[in-house]
Amino acid sequence: MNRKNFITKSGIALGGGILAPYILPSGRLFAKTGSQKADHVVLVMFAGGVRQQESILGRYLEDSQGVSGAAGNIMPNLFEGNSPTKKIAYGTSISGMPAGSEPIPKLLTQSMEKSGLLFPEVKAQSAGHYVGLNTLLTGNAGTAQGLKVRPAYPTIFEYLRKHAGFSATDNWFIANGIGNSTPLLNSSNHKDYGLNYGANMFAAPVTFSSAGKEVLGNAKTYSRTDLEPMYFMKNFLDQSFALTQDQITSISNTDEERTRIKDFIKSVFAKQQSGQLAMPPVTDTGDAVNMMYAAEVLREFKPKMLAVNISGVDSCHSNFTGYLQSLHRADHITGWLWQYIQNNIPEMSGNTIMIVAPECGRNENPNPILDQNDWVSYDHSDANALRVWSLMVGKGVPNMRVGSEAQSVGRLTDIVPTIADIFGILDPVTNAGLIDPMAKSLYNRI
């Protein structure tokens, strides 16, 4: 080998050695093992505890309150079925009419059930909210998961960043508040994954609240020229302090990503001010507001993976009417988000899969708390609370109904391997050995 060849080859080898770890955080150049089914996934964590009876089974007041002839579907964007015709209390209120008597018009031309893959009877692994949310994001039953701590097992965000090479801004979690440990769901504290691979997160109703505007809204817009020395000096200081892996308490973005996020926050405040935020036709709940900000994140970042959490239906503990209204609105805002992606984000339209699933169900038998309509309420602790459904719609998703009320098919832990399957990393995720051994990609349940 002559000197020139030696220098050339050494240079390539050295360059490769330096660059390869940056191509994938894991250092793996060819991590994907399967074909990718879509470029984007949006997971709607239809949380708060949803009874099968009022959702997929379309029983409205017939089962829950024993009102004969009052069955019907109050989730027209998600499921097929005629609306109830008796004792309508789940809609919006019009002056001079009984409260809630005007159902919100259906947004989608055809329901997600009609165009997607529905598993109407799925087994949840927990009847609790936080463990249920953990299950949706980690694919692990999470029986030992504690509150106020990050998930013990890696989230789908971490799998995607580690095995598919996604960046931090490719992954977003939109939490519906800062209570109930929800902001901790953007990353686990697992030693092989953790915050280094976590997702970006906004608890949007807080970030973009009036307090958020007060604390962040007056921030200066620095030019790239201003930011460069700041980041240069900060990086010097951070390298000098050298945090160890277990000392990291926040996810981190590249300097470029951080700048983009800050610009985004400022742009949202500006849009708030000028009334330019896109929003669902009915925006009278915190869930709707959260969905509105999720749409903004989708529009700006076009993330490969975004999970958004809603939970208004949890009012069912003491207010059944409120629960029905929240359920109807959760359907409305989920349909709106899907429509928004198709109509307003060309980069994602036709190239996205949306997955919708509750984190747990609700009891079969009521508690004695009566609401304004004298309707009984429901908690979540019995076997009925382990009954849920899952729905998938979008690019290449077959139109099928798999299973029935009498024949349960699938587990809630299936969501993570399904997303992994969509992005072509099912094997590394399964081989990591950290998801429920009985979980399967929904594509493999058909």
Binding site: A168, F173, A175, I178, P183, N186, G198, A199, N200, M201, F202, A203, A204, V206, T207, S209, A211, G212, E214, V215, L216, G217, N218, A219, K220, Y222, T225, D226, P229, M230, Y231, F232, M233, K234, F236, L237, D238, S240, F241, L243, Q247, T249, S250, I251, S252, N253, R258, I261, K262, I265
Partner: protein
């Protein structure tokens, strides 16, 4: 009875005399010194409330109100990347204009003193020779570097999150 009185007077006199002792001045050769942090000993992470409160006091030289602290805490917690959150918070503070900090001219008049004071102000320690040299050279070579930029780098750095 009289003898008894004399006895008590004598006893009191003895006690008083033996109780009084000349004050002794003992010196151990210790000189007064101001104690500063050592970065290797900073192992405890400030929680959000501590970080915000310390930062606010550092910049404004006055305490943050409980209501403001609560609001700020919640907003910071609502953002996944804490660097983003604290950078925006700082930038918001800098936009208020009432922060207590030296002027850019003063910084450039005596960069050495500025660097030392900045390390003491944010990190409660002196810079190492390497750190001092880095900042001195960087500030000298880059005329666009301002006090605000240096303060932002320090206040959002990892070390400032620890004590």
């Amino acid at each position: 009875m009289r003898n008894l009185n004399n006895y008590y007077v004598l006893l009191l006199a003895i006690l008083a005399l033996s109780g009084c002792k000349k004050e002794q001045h003992i010196g151990y050769g210790v000189e007064n010194a101001t104690v500063y942090e050592d970065k290797s000993r900073k192992t405890k992470k400030k929680n959000n409330a501590e970080y915000i409160s310390i930062l606010y006091t550092n910049l404004y030289q006055s305490a943050i109100s409980p209501n403001q602290l609560y609001k700020t805490q919640n907003v910071l917690y609502s953002i996944g990347d804490q660097d983003v959150a604290s950078e925006m918070l700082l930038s918001n503070y800098f936009n208020t204009g009432s922060i207590q900090m030296p002027s850019n001219t003063l910084m450039r008049q005596d960069i050495d003193a500025f660097v030392i004071n900045t390390y003491k102000r944010f990190y409660l320690r002196y810079p190492s020779e390497g750190e001092k040299a880095f900042f001195k050279q960087y500030i000298q070579k880059n005329s666009a570097v301002s006090v605000e930029m240096v303060y932002t780098a320090f206040a959002t750095s990892d070390e400032y999150q620890y004590y």
